[in-house]
Symmetry: C2
Subunit: 120 residues, 2 copies
């Protein structure tokens, strides 16, 4: 049978491994990679994409966001929690309602950069 166990490594690393060592050394820290992919993850969902865009236009309460997007209040609230945990949105309570808005200009710039890319 001779079932050779593939060890999933290759004999030569590019020319001689120098490139690999150099890039490895310049690699991002685990924390940077985690933060980066987490940030992009938040923007990667269609519902959250719409919420962020809507909040970039106007301060809105949960109910209004639900109306703009045409989805349930519960679904909106769940996604707002994700955005809150990531510090992408801030909120303000008034009577029974909670008004949300973007936390700062950072996310808006990143979001617009992505939008620019999509629109070419």
């Amino acid at each position: 049978m001779s079932v050779k166990k593939r060890d999933d490594t290759c004999a030569i690393k590019s020319v001689d491994g120098k490139k690999v060592a150099a890039v490895k050394k310049a690699m991002l820290t685990d924390e940077e990679v985690r933060d980066l992919s987490e940030t992009f993850s938040v923007l990667a969902d269609p519902t959250r994409t719409k919420i962020i865009y809507a909040l970039s236009k106007e301060e809105l309460c949960v109910c209004d966001i639900s109306g703009v997007l045409g989805i349930s209040i519960s679904a909106v609230s769940h996604q707002l929690r994700v955005l809150r945990n990531m510090r992408l949105v801030k909120f303000r309570k008034e009577a029974k309602m909670v008004f949300y808005s973007l936390d700062d200009g950072h996310i808006e710039r990143l979001f617009n950069e992505g939008l620019k890319h999509v629109r070419e």
Copy 2:
């Protein structure tokens, strides 16, 4: 019992619905939302984040990427396919090896904007 069916809508839309109507009108198209979230999705995975960063430094073959990230060649190849399908990387064949690099400067700018945000 009186199990009132919650209809998940609210009586009043903000002041009187003007804000909701305005934001709704300015909303992104479905295609824009889809493209945006797909683009961010590609950047949202730690493995792909590292691959893109590595390729922003050097042109590398699959084997080298595997060596830099410390994961299997198969796993790298699967992710490269995703990146290829999204036109984020391009490749060049030489002998038995396939060398990958970033497709253009668009993604690098978007990626760096995200990195800047994470590093504050």
